[in-house]
């Protein structure tokens, strides 16, 4: 009956948004295990490998580059497995070209992210992002807030005054990062390798995708900036 289900889905070479979300959820759900008390458990990191015919690769890559896709996958997976979003694995997507559409998931160790600091009093330092994480707060110094009640996961400087203590937050969505500006406001700019500059505080979603080679600039309002260059090892 495979030919019949293929026919209903539009054929081997077709992979629409909804199909992709459903097939990714199916693939990751197959890795579900149960803990000692029957609770749902997943590996901490999974790699989802997607193969598509050459003609569909650009469209599917476009889907994968949209952070909404990973969010829909997370919601679908949480519903399917009746699991809290906290226990879902970090997801990485890899696209390759083949004759047929296939989506598989396996436990994996994706390449870790790192941030190189350019400018400020920690100029030249490299911050390796932890292996399994979903959100990281960054800013000046390790502590902030009233009576230093809140903590920065990433200290990008110690004494560079124009960087806010609670400058922003990095979120991991699939194989990409997103940055949100908190107290840094309009002085947090994502400068892409292509030269395009976007201020997350001035976007409809309030967050902007950051890829390898892009820089997060924390400005002083007079043209100077501390730059965080995003890389993958």
């Amino acid at each position: 009956m495979a030919w019949f289900s293929d026919l209903l889905r539009g054929g081997d070479g077709e992979l629409g948004w909804d199909d992709l979300v459903r097939r990714v959820v199916d693939a990751i759900a197959s890795l579900r295990r149960y803990g000692p008390r029957g609770e749902t458990a997943f590996p901490p990191e999974v790699v989802v490998r997607i193969t598509v015919p050459e003609g569909a690769a650009a469209i599917v890559q476009g889907f994968l580059d949209r952070p909404d896709l990973d969010r829909e996958v997370a919601a679908g997976l949480a519903n399917r497995c009746d699991a809290s979003p906290d226990v879902l694995p970090a997801r990485e997507y890899a696209l390759s070209i083949a004759d047929r559409v296939a989506v598989t998931a396996s436990e994996g160790t994706p390449k870790p992210w790192q941030i190189v600091i350019a400018g400020g009093d920690l100029d030249g330092h490299t911050l390796a992002l932890p292996a399994a994480w979903s959100e990281l707060a960054f800013g000046r110094g390790p502590w902030h807030g009233a009576d230093h009640g809140a903590r920065n996961d990433l200290v990008v400087c110690e004494r560079t005054e124009f960087v806010s203590r609670r400058a922003g937050r990095l979120a991991r969505v699939g194989h990409q990062l997103e940055v949100v500006s908190l107290d840094q406001g309009d002085e947090l700019v994502v400068r892409r390798a292509s030269g395009e500059a976007i201020r997350p505080a001035r976007t409809a979603r309030g967050r902007t995708v950051v890829g390898t080679g892009d820089a997060i600039e924390l400005g002083d309002g007079r043209g100077g900036a501390l730059r965080l260059i995003v890389q993958r090892q």
Binding site: A146, D147, H148, I198, A201, R202, T203, A204, R205, G206
Partner: protein, 274 residues
């Protein structure tokens, strides 16, 4: 479909077509009135209350428009933002709602180009404004956007060119002492005290030797005839006066001598008569 829907705790999506009640598919002309209506509706959607049950409304509103809509409204931006503040202040007053700081309204375009024409996003926040000590007779406080400058009005009679005005530091004063030095606190003056830094404010006492836990503007001190008033800046680290904590943005009046502890005894100062 409703003209306003909540995207998250701090974000609302606006469909201007629904707000203006134009036919589906027809382009909508976004004007200052529609924007004011949208932000007014967002303000009314705030259901945060103080401990006493009094409504508190957001004081920062950022309207994000599609680039094409923004380009049309851009020439009107200055009067638009000014009028919006007036309208929102009236709305807050009508609701008898409290504001934690001055109203801030900005209209910008979506730099990620994700908004369709005719749609907008309103992002809201509570942004407290530092409370300054109420000015006394002969003093003036000026707030320039988010910066505040406080000082005394100095009015002198016209003097001949050969008149030399001498800084009156010998007038009656108190002495502020700390392990790294001392400074005079002239009677009647309000002085800002903090860690030494570039471009300090007027009437500033730089605490030589202070560590990083001491803020650049940690507290202010005003000397009266028999007592001193000490105020902690809203964003400053803890301040204790004679062992009693001073709340952020609050002040206390104490007799002399007095002991001031900054950042939980990081630096301890004393105020006494000379």
């Amino acid at each position: 479909m409703s003209a306003l829907s909540q995207d998250g705790l701090d974000q609302f999506r606006v469909r201007f077509g629904e707000l203006a009640r134009v036919r589906r598919g027809q382009a909508v002309q976004i004007d200052p009135f529609l924007i004011a209506q949208a932000i007014g509706q967002v303000m009314r959607a705030c259901n945060v209350r103080s401990a006493t049950g009094r409504p508190i409304v957001w004081n920062e509103y950022r309207m994000i428009l599609a680039r094409r809509d923004f380009d049309r409204i851009w020439p009107l931006q200055v009067p638009l933002e000014r009028d919006l503040k007036t309208v929102l202040a009236q709305e807050a007053k009508a609701r008898e709602a409290e504001l934690v700081g001055e109203l801030r309204v900005t209209v910008v375009f979506d730099e990620a180009d994700e908004l369709a024409p005719g749609e907008g996003v309103v992002r809201v926040a509570f942004v407290p404004t530092d409370k300054l000590a109420a000015p006394r007779a002969g003093e003036l406080t000026m707030r320039l956007d988010s910066w505040a400058v406080a000082g005394e009005l100095e009015v002198r009679a016209p003097a001949p060119a050969d008149t030399v005005i001498v800084d009156d530091l010998t007038a009656s004063s108190y002495l502020l002492r700390w392990p790294g030095g001392e400074a005079k606190v002239v009677l009647g003056a309000t002085l800002v005290v903090g860690r030494p830094h570039a471009e300090p404010p007027a009437r500033f006492i730089a605490l030589a030797g202070a560590g990083a836990k001491v803020n650049k503007q940690h507290f202010w001190i005003a000397a009266g005839p028999t007592s001193v008033r000490i105020g902690r800046f809203a964003k400053a680290n803890p301040v204790h006066v004679n062992g009693q904590p001073v709340g952020a943005g609050e002040d206390v009046e104490v007799g002399l001598p007095a002991e001031i502890s900054l950042s939980r005894s990081e630096l301890v100062l004393s105020v006494q008569r000379r």
